[in-house]
Amino acid sequence: MMRHARVACFGSVHDAVEIDGRLKLTDGRVVKPADVVWLPPIQPETIFALGLNYADHANEISFKAPNEPLVFLKGPNALVGHNGQSRRPVDATHMHYECELAVVISETARNISYDDAYDYVAGYTIANDYVIRDYLENYYRPNLAAKNRDDLTPIGPYFVDKDDISYPMQLGLRTYVNGELKQEGSTRDMVFDIPYLIEYLSSFMTLNESDVILTGTPKGTVHVYEGDEVVTEIEGIGALKNTIVGDSVFAR
């Protein structure tokens, strides 16, 4: 099992792997996880995200599960690493977390078949695709003002190689808010599974190395507030922590 991280410590940015609960940097130094700043483990060019890809979540927010994947894109400004902060503006009333399996693409390809799709997966990480539903508007839903705010998509802590996850479509997802379990689901309940999504996207556009697909969230999203500590966890991959902060720390 090899878990990869990107961290800042000793005055620079490093790639690292986890060994016995510690982080080994590529230059040989070993450091405790508590002593680093965690950065997003991947630096994607294109970030795909799925809306309503779990039927139970679609019902929960009053939508029918779609006939075709509902895909939207995000910018790199949205990503923030493990132990990061996400801002909840003071006027927001409906801010929700969304625990999601993130699938990372391994190489440039077009027209990938369902049966070959896993050949183009490099591995997996965890994303928390927060939304501030107050800012949803009925144009290009879900619009970027609701979904693509700075640091609103925690990702990490680790990138895990594909070969270390035997059954990516049978992984438990859990979200804890201040230690209390609030969301629980399984990747087996995706409407469109990983190979379907890769076949679908690559049928009309070229996918590139380190592109990432955030595969949607199951039922159980609730409001979060300033000061909340939100942990999104996926079986075999890790636990991604984020803290909600208010406008004041941004001088806004």
Binding site: E45, L70, G75, P76, A78, E137, Y139, F204, M205, L207
Partner: protein
């Protein structure tokens, strides 16, 4: 010298497009903005992303995907950021601009904007960008730029950035209220109403006064596969 104000385009940033930023577009859609599924006009800039695979160049072909017969030409002023813009005022917004270029924000024609499929905007090569950026200081007023589109040499569209709903500075400011526009990102300020259509065999030329010229020929997808027998 004019050329001293040019620099070669090489994007590593993200390209963001914006919906309905020409007054004529709002006039054309009219009362529909008050009706389902929209219910009310947009309050904040409505953005979309032209991902990396869409990046294309001057005098390179734009490919119409199989199953489609036409593409929509989206003549857009591209605003390239020179430094990270977060929550900047209208007054300061242009200080964050590195320069301007001409872009063709190509789409498959679609007339529902509620949740359009990204397929309409993200096909490979659907974002040709002119070869040069004109530095900010080389453009006296980005809100007074003539936009001309020619198909096969014939003028098919004429508009001006004076007709923007949000001026360039207003747009940069309003977007930066909810997300950082990073150094190297490019914001397309909008596509004028009555965007022309083009089909295979057409030559499309976009001119933005004092900013750039962008030419692309349009071909069908099958034409890109030369095969071995012909």
């Amino acid at each position: 010298m004019y050329t001293a104000k040019l620099k070669q385009v090489y994007f590593k940033g993200t390209i963001y497009g914006v919906l309905f930023n020409f007054q004529g577009q709002l006039e054309a859609i009219g009362k529909a903005l008050q009706e389902k599924p929209y219910n009310e006009p947009p309050k904040r800039p409505v953005l979309y992303i032209k991902p990396r695979n869409t990046l294309n160049s001057h005098r390179k072909p734009v490919v119409i995907p199989k199953g489609e017969s036409e593409i929509q030409v989206g003549a857009a002023l591209g605003v390239v950021l020179g430094k990270n813009a977060t929550n900047v005022s209208v007054k300061d917004a242009l200080d964050y601009v590195d320069g301007y270029t001409a872009v063709n924000d190509v789409s498959i024609p679609h007339y529902n904007f509620y949740r359009p499929n990204i397929k309409n905007k993200v096909r490979d090569g659907f974002c040709p960008v002119a070869p040069m950026i004109v530095k900010r200081t080389g453009v006296a007023n980005p809100d007074q730029l003539q936009i001309l589109v020619y198909v096969n040499g014939e003028l098919v569209q004429e508009n001006n950035t004076k007709n923007l709903v949000r001026s360039v500075a207003q747009l940069v400011s309003d977007v930066s209220e909810f997300m950082t526009l990073r150094k190297g990102d490019m914001l397309l300020v909008g596509v004028p109403e009555e965007a022309p259509l083009a089909k295979a065999g057409d030559e499309v030329r976009i001119e933005i006064d004092g900013v750039g010229v962008l030419e692309n020929n349009i071909i069908n997808e099958k034409d890109t596969f030369t095969g071995g027998d012909s």
